[in-house]
Structure formats: structure tokens, C-alpha cells
Symmetry: C2
Subunit: 194 residues, 2 copies
Amino acid sequence: MENLRKHIEEITPISDDEFEYVRTFFTKKRVRKHQFLIQAGDRVACEYWIANGVFRAFYVDDGGREHILQFALENSWLSDYHAFFYQTGANMNVVCMEEAEVFCLTLLAREKLASDLHKMEHFFRMKVTSGYTAQQHRIISLLSRNPRERYEEFGSLFPDIVKRIPKKYIAEYLGISRETLSRIHPAHRRRSLN
Amino acid sequence: MENLRKHIEEITPISDDEFEYVRTFFTKKRVRKHQFLIQAGDRVACEYWIANGVFRAFYVDDGGREHILQFALENSWLSDYHAFFYQTGANMNVVCMEEAEVFCLTLLAREKLASDLHKMEHFFRMKVTSGYTAQQHRIISLLSRNPRERYEEFGSLFPDIVKRIPKKYIAEYLGISRETLSRIHPAHRRRSLN
DNA sequence: GGCGCGGTGTGATTTTTGTCACAAATTAAT
DNA sequence: ATTAATTTGTGACAAAAATCACACCGCGCC
């Protein structure tokens, strides 16, 4: 839980008392590999802060294909946010890929936290703002880059994810087939780079 | 300016005094068709609230192709948000497509407004949150739907935009060529739908 | 320590979409 | 109103990526 405090303090300083108050809103949960945190159709009670472990959030289309919206590692937040904020049934699935420990925050808890502590409202605004700009970047990438370029960009943005996650899932994230990804070979090192 | 108040009050009620205070942070600007509000490379001083008029925000890739990130009509917010929040040079261009009147808000003004008035922090959080979920939806659409499906979805989500904006720009938004879009013909009305 | 399953690489082929070229239609500008 | 500019449609063709099929690898699990 200390890490959650550090995580919050990357955005805003927070006193011991305040943090003691904040922590009361969270509940801890252990999750094993292959376990679903959210299944399509579920009511989405919580958003999750990942203390450790790995998850993927994916959408299953009408043809049964999976499309990954997000990988989540330690220190990141995760939910089906549309379903969470609007309290509708989930369209996403969230599955554990490496044994994990997460902290759960209900919508009510989150909104009370934000309205009680201006600091926390600010914190959540900053978090969603950076998520927003990151998603804009991803949209631009999907619109303007070919599979090789997207894969290379992904590798340089998220080297830790590339190491920990099977390539087939990265293909699902990039919107290309696993075969196409498999045929992307590292660019030849040019002589001039000796 | 009355509309801005209505717009804010869709999220949170606000007193006369508060709104008087809020309005002092904005400056008004008229923009003519074809005029750039933001050009790639610029420092992005403001975000803009559109009182009336139409804009598009687009990215130009290395091959000179344009990719549209956002259309903005009346009552919406617009900027190159990455460049705005992180105060880096713009990667986007924002161009006026129909004569417009906008209200400008600098980053300093925005952050002061948010820290002075918890209400406004809440307002901005809610706005960016709904933008975030809308963008997630768009990413899923880019990953999982073919051009026809994306175009039909776009038409049902944004009928007003389809009416007001040339199709070539919609193609640039959907990530397909204008020719492909032009070859998408309305689905045949099935007999059973008489 | 063998067995099974999930993951990966690769060839052959098909499908989808982009590109190029040009004409027609629509809209804007003087 | 006429002229210019922008937008749209469509055919022929090329390019990119998906799909299908199959072999093989590697690791976890009894």
C-alpha cells in the first residue's frame, strides 16, 4: 500500500492523515492467473489499482476475435471505464495474466473521495488527462502507421510489456494478425551505425 | 457566453457569482474559415471552447497524409491536448471549417480555475473522463470493425457531423481512403423491413 | 521425463484496401 | 453569372494484410 501513496504523491503531496483516510476506501484482492476480474455483461463495481501482477483488458467482437484495449502492470489503474462510470454492463473482459494483488475502489468510494478531498479530485483529473492524451497518441498511430511502425513504436514506448507478454497479444493490441506480426523482422542494422 | 454556463451546469450547478468569476478567465476570439487555430510546431497557449462554428484537428504524417483526430462543433472543447498540457510544440493542426466564435482558456487560467473552485476541477475531470471513454470506443472500433462498419457507426453516433462535413474528411477520421469510403453504398433495404 | 498446450514461424493463397487516373458534380469566389 | 476550386464517383490495377495450413518449439504439469 506504500506504493499507492507514492503513486498518488507523484501528482500531489498528501499528509499522513489524509492518506490514512484515502486507504479506507480501498479493499485488497488477490487474483490468480487466468482469473477474470471483469467479464463482459457483468456490472462493473470497481476500478482496480494494480499493486503487482499483469492484466489485459479486451473486447470480443461479433466474430469472436479479441482486441486488446489495455495491458496493465504494477502501479496502473484498470477497469472497463465506460461500464464503470456509466454503470452499464461491461463490454470488456479483464483477465489476469500473472498472479496479482489489486486494490479495489467502487464508483461511490471514488466519487466520495474526490468530493471530500479536492486533492484527490485533482489526482483523478490528472490521471485521466494523461490517459486521454496517451489514447490520442494511440489513435494517431492506428490511423497513420503501418504494422511494422506500430510494433516498433510499441516496443519503444513499452519495452517492459514486450518482455513480459506473448506476441500474439501484442498483435491483438496493435490491430494486426499474429502472422503479420511474426513476419515483422528487426530492421537490418545499417553499416553506418557501427 | 450564456451557453458556456449551460454547458458547465450540465455537470455541476454554479452560482451567479461563481460564473462571473469563471468567465473572467476566458477571452473571446473570432475565427474565419480556413484559418488555423493551431499549427504543428506552435506552442499551444490555449484550449478552446467553441461557441459556434466547426473545426477539425488533424495530424500530418511523414508522407504528408492528414489524419483527423477530432471534429469540433458548437459546445465542444478543442486543442492539441498533449501539447497543451505538457507545453510542448504542437503535433496537430487545428483548422476552422465554418466561421466560428471561440473562447480561449490558457493552461494557467485552467489550472487556477480548477484549484480555486473545486467545482471546476470536478467539471474538468468529468469532461476529460467522458472524452476518455469516447476515445476508448473509437480505439475498439478501429481495431475491430471494417470500413463499412466504422462508417455506419460514425453516422449513427454523429449524424450532425455527417451532414456538415465533406466525406473526404470523414474518411480521414475513419482511417480509410476517400475512394474506399465512396464505394461504401447504403446497405440494401431488406424486404422484411418494408 | 514424457505429454500436452500455448505460442511462434513460414509458405501459399485470398481478400481487402489503397493507389492512380480521370470525369462529373457540387460549391465557393469574383 | 462565370470561373475556379473542391469534392465525389468509378474503373483498373497494385500492394498490403488476412487467412489457412502445418511444423516446430518450449515450458509447465503430472
